[in-house]
Subunit: 280 residues, 4 copies
């Protein structure tokens, strides 16, 4: 991970996850608000969406672990070097552990979509745990580094732990769109902050940052708030875009929602029109 | 900000905001309790009130940012001085960042008033975030200052973070008047504490405070509690005054509540009288 | 306060308050469970109980402040000595501030009993704030003392802040008897711990404690847990005693509950008998 | 406790408790979901289960305290040695205090099962307090030890305090299977981590661990996450096994659930079959 690419990959992953969650939550919210109260059975379209999400997490975690283990300078599945009485490449093992918990989270999503026996909330709990483990390992990562390096990583922890707390609350308070989008926002913030860490510690061009200068620490603190503002803006724009796209299509009576509406009746498009007019 | 005026301006702003929120919450509470359960549509008077609040926050944030940037010794929109390899006036940029989030909060209030599509609670979440960002930036502000200076600023953080937590809870627990007034009280406390900071660090007259004397720290800690007591008193008096004024006017059948009641029926003033007598 | 008596007085006060709250909560719980669901108007007996509680708090706070100010070596209402440029007896002022907030809490109890306009929960919020202020002032009290002295006071803070959090939660979760008794238990723990502090720092007889010995700190930590166990036992015994006394009297059809039952109908004693048999 | 056995005994106890809670919670959850809404009276089978649990906790706590007191090098009920002016075997007293609170928790479980007068939630509150006291005493245990020793014990505290918080939340949020299993999972994690502490500090074979090597601390941090993953796996497997065993037996109409179903009617096995087919 000790280069720009090593921070860009998790950054892109978390950015993608954040945007994906935003889109998913808006789709679910649209479905919830446009349904009469009685019906609570998720249409198959959403099931497929969840399978995709879970599958991607499992696949990503598996690939991540394999890559960390079997890159040229990786531990190649060796944990302890008995010859030298030392641990082998603990950094790679730690990253693998983080991936493992995101993989577990993927399994929980797939399981809770596939079977009703899995209690509601397990998927969010596992996501919260995955973030907690990530933050937990990072927390002990940070000691004994130059000030700016330690500071920029501890700011990452702010996003990670707030995200973890947010998903933990979702276990108890369900279907609260504000909370859901806030969780997605924390993922986007985390993703963009990974990029920022990459730019600061391994600048692609320009001079190297002075890791001990107090002004740099002050700027980075402020920069984190700017990232938060941008993340809020991105979530707002994405949600609005998805919402109004959904609305326009359902108003034209088009069949994009086949998977969502037609399961109940064939006249859903007319119904949808009526419901839209009621809402205004 | 390094003078008395620089602390009096935000102090006045937060005091005003605190009083305004007190009045607003009491108006809303009066309306909620004097309405039959069924009707939940906010009358236009409240909409206008929210537009005003949001507009003031946006305007104030904009002016604040502009002033911080373009005062005589401001950064004039320059962030990095490539000649000297140093950041330009980071203090002003940090204050601008704080204003930015109160501006975002204003936008959230306007948006959630204008459209029902914006989920309920976004306005409180954004206010909570604005306070969090303020506290977050101040937290890293405080290091490496003389003891009394650091202590008096960290007491400010107590008011800021408790306020932030209070508004965050409001996202989930709505229409709880105790919680709402507590949030307003934290704003008033913050405002009056800004004045206190100004008086201590930049005394208008009398001797300069000894920033290392332990007794001064002890007094300031106690003084913070006195400010809290005064803030509680001010919120109580303001609420009572607003409540009884509202009651007196509605008992006289006067038309102050045109915006609130007449939307439903023309005989609302008689109804109001009946409701009042029921309450006693 | 720097003697045994100075710790015994607040200790006795908090013990009394803890027992009183236990009795009050059990009385309220008995009334709640023995009532049909519909009726929710508190009988006058409870009102008088609350007035008494509030009155005692206000009176106690007033006496406390007066004593702290006008004892022989007190500040006699002088805060700043301009001749010596120093603060006058800040310790007494700090204690007075703590009393002030318990007085405010008493006012809140009286006000919320007297008028329905005062929102429900204000009394608990004010009690929570009183404990918070007490803990807050103690927290900055503790610095720069010998290890055992600092430790024994910081254990007091555990009871104070947990109590404060417990009453804060009560603002939102009402009529939960477990939570209410837990709050009362924290008061008893606090009271008995004040006595323990007195015994350790100002022993009535026997040798003075070594304030730097590590074993003493270990013992005191364990001792705090024993106090907690005793506090739990005391709350359990008191509640059981009050509950079964109430039950025996109401079974005999006696008139102890005149204030509680007869307000609704004259045949309440027979009703009570029926309800009791239902409960078994 | 300063040997492998001293860590294996509490480890086994917590592992057992964790598995037991998992089984109990799944049995309760099965019963809740397979019942029509109206009936809420616990069948006698569950009562007996709770008596067993409470009885074991009380018995275990009693034996534990006796052993700690009367082992060969124990304090034999002496607390203070007046001859040497020193405390006698404080470590044993501290462990006894921890057992005491688990015993209190057992009493609370028995009491709340035996009588409806004991308010719901007291059993969880007492379990939460037992964990809190355990963590509280451990916290002051850890100071002034070599880095790895302190670190490995502070990781134990993570499991202990998260478990305590989880059971505290259960006082307010009842019958949430995710929360209940999470609490059980924390017990399993705690149990397996006690074994890990034993293996690291008192290795049965192989070389002694270097308590100051930074890589060992890094490995142990990661190892804690692996224990968490294993604990999650164990809880999932146990729950699934118990659930499907219950389901298979109730489908065959066998009489394993005599204690659960036959209390209501003799045709419960047929009903069960119908309910199962409804669920699919």
């Amino acid at each position: 991970m000790a280069n720009f690419g090593g921070h860009a990959i998790p950054g892109s992953f978390f950015l993608l996850l954040g945007f994906w969650l935003t889109v998913k939550y808006i789709l679910q919210h649209y479905w919830r608000t446009s349904q009469p109260k009685g019906r609570q059975i998720m249409p198959p379209f959403y099931k497929r969406m969840h399978y995709l999400e879970g599958g991607c997490l499992i696949f990503g975690a598996f690939v991540g672990i394999m890559v960390e283990q079997f890159v040229v300078d990786g531990p190649h599945a060796h944990l302890y070097d008995t010859a030298n009485h030392s641990w082998v490449k603990l950094m790679n093992w730690q990253h693998g552990t983080m991936y493992l918990f995101f993989g577990i989270s993927g399994i929980a999503i797939v399981a809770s979509t596939a079977s009703k026996l899995v209690p509601v909330g397990v998927d969010r709990l596992s996501l919260s745990l995955a973030l907690f483990v990530e933050g937990f390992l990072f927390y002990y990562h940070v000691h004994m580094r130059p000030p700016l390096d330690a500071h920029i990583h501890s700011l990452l922890l702010v996003a990670v732990f707030i995200g973890s707390a947010s998903f933990m609350v979702e276990v108890f308070i369900k279907d609260n769109i504000v909370l859901e989008l806030f969780g997605a926002c924390m993922f986007i913030l985390q993703g963009s902050w990974f990029y920022q860490i990459g730019f600061v510690l391994y600048p692609l061009r320009g001079p190297v940052w002075d890791l001990k200068m107090h002004d740099n620490i002050m700027f980075i603190t402020m920069c984190f708030c700017w990232h938060l503002a941008v993340a809020l803006l991105l979530v707002t724009c994405t949600s609005s875009f998805v919402w109004f796209t959904l609305k326009r299509f359902s108003e034209k009576g088009q069949d994009i929602e086949i998977g969502m509406r037609n399961t109940s009746s064939k006249t859903s498009s007319q119904k949808a029109l009526l419901e839209e007019s009621d809402e205004e």
